[in-house]
């Protein structure tokens, strides 16, 4: 009996020390990943979670990942060369057939509803496996953006579905002659949660997910034995969980949390300039804008001098240093200046005196009335910035009424075009051109331009540059077109850039965080000191 007990104790000790040695990284997200299935949903936390398990042809920084490179056959045809020797978690080798299957799965409508990431596929008409390691993408229109959009196409193994033998014939409905795709349950219980990523799926319960290291990973092995992702939407509770030792790292701490860390040696924080540009959208329609009125009945925002005055009135330096404690960067254009492909632009001036003169020149020396809209629950510190902007404009004589509302209400009003001036943030995997191509270009259905042009801005120079950019497959030339468009937009100011956000992580002091621009939180960026 005594011996049994001793043995048991020994076993328990071994088991316990084994558990202690396993390096498990426990992270807390600010919202729950919506699905294990990589296609139906976008959003930073869903994307951040799934990239542990699945990989795409292109990495988050536009470098090749499962691809080794690509060749444009013509402006409407791209051949992508696949990496050899990559294995899925189920042991299958990655081939071009899996990429075609994944494209089919992306287009497949689940219960008649398209996946929300489907829009990234743009004008793609065909996906063909040329041989095992080459896959060709054909397009209806030139679509150079596909290089960047490929990162949405997580690659799944074709063996996961009932695929008939022989080549898969892609079609835009996602039917592809495939009788049964894996269901949501297959993904959530792990049967279909198979990718090529550095971590393997263990458990997914929305607010809690667990992964383990993929020992057969093709690249550098993962740094952690396991990863646990909890989701805590309340920022106070998230921070408390960190201090309570429940988590090693949390995303999106508040400014108050950060200042509390100053007095704590066990924890620290890491910031990283992110891809989101915060800006003001102004409706430049000469017939007038909603919520904007002048005593003489004219449309103040249609006058470029008024827009310049509004930009000159803003002390961006004060916003980033006072409201964000330095955890934000002053903006000088409609894309983070530090992002690849962003043109060189001069800094924006702060000069309220000059702003008043410009307003007087434009005939609004006695000011005009402006309703400024901002979402109340969308951007960290966003409401305070909106208040600051309203005050800056009030100082140059504009009668500003600030209207903050919940995101779901704000988003409806934005889409309905009900807001003449509003505060917005735009960050996306595509480079510097992505935002301006949507927000300021004239509508062009074929090239996918101008879908969010709530400024009603229309400029021949800007449109010409954007239309040339949309079909340019040469990166250097494309960047020149972006620069031309940016110069035009910054001269006309259909919106006013204010600042670029920073992503923040609070974590244990013995961890090093190498953050990314794309607002995602992943185990790849965390290592022990």
């Amino acid at each position: 009996m005594k011996r049994t007990l001793t043995t048991l104790a020994a076993v328990a000790t071994v088991a316990l020390s084994g558990a202690a040695q396993a390096d498990v990284l426990r992270m807390a997200y600010s919202s729950a990943p919506r699905s294990v299935d990589p296609y139906p949903f976008g959003g930073a936390t869903t994307a951040g979670y799934k990239e542990h398990i699945y990989e795409a042809l292109v990495a988050h920084d536009d470098s090749p990942l499962l691809a080794t490179g690509w060749t444009w056959n013509s402006p409407t045809s791209l051949t992508v060369h696949l990496r050899e020797g990559v294995k899925f978690h189920n042991g299958d080798a990655l081939t071009a057939r899996d990429v075609v299957y994944s494209a089919c799965r992306m287009m497949f409508k689940i219960d008649g509803k398209r996946n929300l990431l489907t829009s990234s596929m743009g004008p793609l008409t065909d996906v063909v496996a040329v041989d095992d390691y080459n896959v060709r993408f054909d397009m209806a229109n030139p679509y150079p953006l596909w290089i960047q959009k490929m990162k949405f196409l997580s690659v799944l193994p074709a063996s996961g579905a009932d695929v008939p033998d022989g080549p898969i014939q892609y079609d835009a409905e996602g039917d592809c002659g495939i009788t049964a795709y894996p269901t949501r349950d297959d993904f959530e219980n792990g049967d279909a949660a198979i990718g090529t990523g550095p971590y393997k799926h263990v458990v997914y319960e929305k607010e809690f997910a667990k992964m383990t290291r993929n020992d057969d990973y093709w690249g550098a092995p993962a740094k952690w034995d396991g990863v646990e992702i909890s989701s805590v939407s309340n920022s106070g509770a998230r921070f408390a969980g960190l201090l309570a030792g429940d988590y090693d790292l949390i995303e999106n701490p508040t400014a108050e949390d950060i200042s509390a860390l100053d007095r704590n040696d066990d924890y620290t924080f890491t910031g990283k300039p992110a891809w989101r540009t915060m800006f003001v959208v102004l409706d430049v329609n000469p017939e007038g804008a909603n919520g904007v009125s002048a005593p003489d009945g004219s449309a103040p925002l249609a006058d470029v001098r008024v827009r310049q005055a509004m930009s000159l009135a803003i002390n961006r330096e004060a916003i980033t240093s006072r409201l964000f404690g330095g955890n934000a960067t002053v903006a000088n254009q409609f894309a983070p200046a530090y992002r690849a492909g962003a043109p060189e632009m001069p800094a924006l001036e702060y000069n309220p005196e000059k702003a008043k003169e410009l307003l007087a020149d434009a005939g609004y020396g006695d000011g005009f009335t402006l309703t400024f809209n901002a979402p109340s629950d969308r951007y960290p510190g966003g409401t305070r910035v909106a208040q600051a902007l309203a005050q800056y404009w009030a100082r140059i004589g504009i009668n500003v009424e600030l209207n903050t509302q919940p995101w779901s209400v704000f988003a409806k009003a934005r889409r309905a075009g009900d807001m003449g001036a509003f505060f917005y943030g735009w960050g996306h995997p595509q480079g510097a051109a992505q935002m301006i191509s949507f927000a300021f270009a004239s509508r062009n259905k074929d090239l996918g331009l101008g879908s969010s042009n709530y400024s009603n801005y229309s400029s021949a120079a800007f449109d010409a540059a954007m239309e040339a950019w949309a079909v340019e497959t040469d990166e250097a030339k494309a960047n020149e077109f972006v620069a031309d468009a940016m110069v035009a937009a910054m001269a006309d100011l259909p919106g006013i850039p204010v600042y670029y956000t920073h992503s923040l992580w609070a974590h244990k002091a013995d961890l090093t965080v190498d953050g990314r621009q794309d607002e995602r939180t992943s185990a790849f960026m965390v290592s022990k000191k």
Binding site: K113, V232, S233, A237, A240, A244, K412, R415, K445, G448
Partner: protein
């Protein structure tokens, strides 16, 4: 009794109908699911296609009547956000809410009622005064702030309990529950206590005022004159007579806990239905919000009905004809 039941059913279906109209039209007016779901790189064509797939491009009345006819067939619709049947989403999260709600209500009854009777019987004692002081404090602390205090004290300072999340679950008849294993239980304590504090204070006050009232009734004086022991007096004559308001309030509070523990569930990241409701309102997920509130109305109807039946059991004078 049968006509009573039928009348109740009639009333509640009118209630459900009014509720569905209010929520359906209210959600339509303030928010647009397409605008919330569509990411910034959606083209206008993508948005129109999405609206069609969600069925929100149709006129509002058409949407409402197709919703009603689906509900009549037992189909509460599909979540815009998760693309899953709404009932699945709610049922999946119900156990987490129920176990915390019942624990909180149980704590309220077990601690609050005896404390109330005690302070009703011993009105002049110092301990009664401190109980009265504590209930006043417990009543007036805002729920979310109390939750953060609990986290700060028990999770951050003492590190006795986890700050948030649900922890491990055990399967009981195919339903995941937390109270059957240590880790799950430790996750349950803080949210349950946070909900229970208010309930304890309320039950204490109800029991105390009931006790004070009943103790001076003629039948109590008579019972005492007969020489009935104090213990029997409290158990048989007092407890039964103060139970009616307690049962009423407990029923309503249970309903309230199940339906609207949103603040506690959010702060503790407890994956219950209250959090689902809040997230769905944020995401303009109308089918979830509408179905949720209809179910809540039905639940209150059932709870009130059970309370009425309990009245009859507790007080022989009450009859439903």
């Amino acid at each position: 009794m049968l006509s009573f039941v039928l009348r109740r059913l009639g009333q509640s279906s009118v209630l459900v109908l009014i509720m569905s109209v209010l929520v359906f039209f209210g959600m339509y007016v303030v928010s647009d699911p397409v605008a919330v779901l569509a990411s910034d790189d959606f083209t206008e064509e993508d948005r129109i296609a999405l609206a069609q797939e969600l069925g929100v491009d149709r006129p509002l009345l058409v949407q409402y009547f197709s919703f009603l006819s689906n509900v009549a067939r037992g189909d509460f619709g599909t979540s815009f956000v998760y693309n899953r049947p709404v009932m699945d989403l709610i049922i999946e999260r119900l156990p987490a809410t129920l176990e915390v709600a019942f624990l909180a209500i149980g704590l309220g009854l077990i601690i609050g009622v005896p404390m109330g009777i005690y302070s009703g019987l011993n009105r002049k004692k110092r301990s009664t005064k401190s109980i009265s002081f504590m209930t006043t404090v417990g009543y007036s602390i805002p729920n979310f702030w109390q939750a953060l205090l609990l986290i700060l004290v028990f999770a951050v300072w003492f590190r006795w309990l986890p700050a948030s999340g649900r922890g491990d679950t055990t399967m009981l008849f195919g339903i995941p529950v937390s109270f059957l294993n240590l880790d799950g239980l430790s996750h349950m304590i803080l949210p349950a206590v946070n909900l229970a504090i208010y309930k304890i204070c309320m039950q204490t006050r109800l029991a105390r005022s009931g006790t004070q009232e009943v103790m001076f009734q003629d039948y109590m004086t008579f019972a005492r004159a007969k020489g009935i022991s104090r213990a029997r007096l409290v158990r048989r004559h007092l407890a039964r007579n103060i139970l009616i308001p307690i049962v009423t309030i407990t029923g309503l509070e249970l309903g309230g806990l199940i339906a609207f523990s949103t603040v506690t569930e959010t702060v503790f990241s407890w994956p219950g239905i209250g959090k689902l409701l809040l997230d769905s309102i944020h995401n303009a997920d109308r089918p979830v919000v509408v179905a949720y509130l209809i179910l809540i109305v039905l639940m209150f109807v059932v709870i009130n009905f059970v309370v009425d039946v309990l009245y009859a059991l507790l007080d022989p004078r009450i009859r439903y004809t």
